[in-house]
Amino acid sequence: MSTVHSTTFDKVSWAQWYAQQHLKTDPGITAVYYLPTGAGERDIRLVEVNTMIGERLDDRLEPIDFGIDFGEETEHRLVVLDVSSNQWARILKKEMPLPSGWSLDQWFEFSPSSASKEADDSDE
């Protein structure tokens, strides 16, 4: 990213906010995991376990990279990997590789129960 940022960026806080929102918005999501290791300074990597997605025939996992707030102080990338529960189980057992550069080191879950809380957000 070319933008120069003068403020610090609390990745975990933003990641938790996105996790809560996605759990509230998509009834197919049963769990959201945060994978911080190896991510860039302003990259948020989430794995979302979803009962409603289709698995690719070629078994390839492809994260979706959402650039957000381009050119603003809060510019960052939200990178979401949608997987089925079966795929997540295989990832944990090292039977299915994560995308290149991703790591399971230090991963943790954002609990679905926290999704009902009113999320903090900006402009308030």
Binding site: W14, W17, Y18, Q21, H22, K24, T25, D26, P27, G28, N50, M52, I53, G54, E55, R56, L57, D58, E62, P63, I64, D65, F66, G67, I68, D69, F70, T74, L78, V80, D82, D121, S122, D123, E124
Partner: protein, 170 residues
């Protein structure tokens, strides 16, 4: 809106026009309607993904992921603006509609042959090794566009395409 977005938006608009024509004239097999719906939703999502002026780092982006991104802007001002563009008074109303239509949206997304797992899809007979079904004769009961959920989703899709220039850079 940058030139890359215009290109993707133009194609999404064309797919959506064909879809509307099929629906209004009637007598067209659901597979053709759903094929164009799957294509136009994927293309408008990609049009949005190009707002960073660089190629999206993925080959497939489903409509559900796109809607989740739109509806869950961290900035409340942006959330409310987008909800308004889509015709909702409040962002939580827009989020509620995305939630209620998500099963159908996911079903549309799963129609892409790469995700259909040798099962129902609007393009090719299946199963591949010994075809038993032709899309043209299949009902696609999971993708009903004529009930209240289907009509709501079609309204969201219509807004996503017709009002794209208003949110293309958000």
């Amino acid at each position: 809106m940058n030139d890359f977005q215009k290109i993707w938006w133009k194609q999404a608009q064309s797919d959506f026009e064909i879809l509307q024509r099929f629906r209004s004239q009637g007598g067209v097999s659901p597979c053709h309607v759903l094929h164009y719906l799957q294509m136009c939703t994927e293309k408008i999502a990609k049009a949005y993904a190009w707002r960073g002026n660089r190629p999206p780092g993925f080959t497939h982006l489903g409509f559900v992921g796109f809607l989740k991104l739109l509806a869950n802007q961290h900035s409340r001002l942006k959330r409310e603006k987008i909800a308004s563009i889509f015709g909702y008074k409040r962002s939580n109303e827009f989020q509620g509609r995305i939630h209620s239509t998500a099963p159908l949206s996911h079903a549309i997304e799963r129609l892409a042959p790469a995700l259909a797992k040798d099962g129902p899809n609007p393009e090719y007979p299946w199963p591949h090794a010994a075809p038993l079904y032709a899309p043209v004769a299949f009902e696609f009961a999971d993708c009903n566009l004529e009930n209240s959920t289907g009509r709501e989703l079609m309204r969201i899709v219509g807004s996503a395409i017709s009002r794209f220039p208003e949110y293309a850079n958000i």
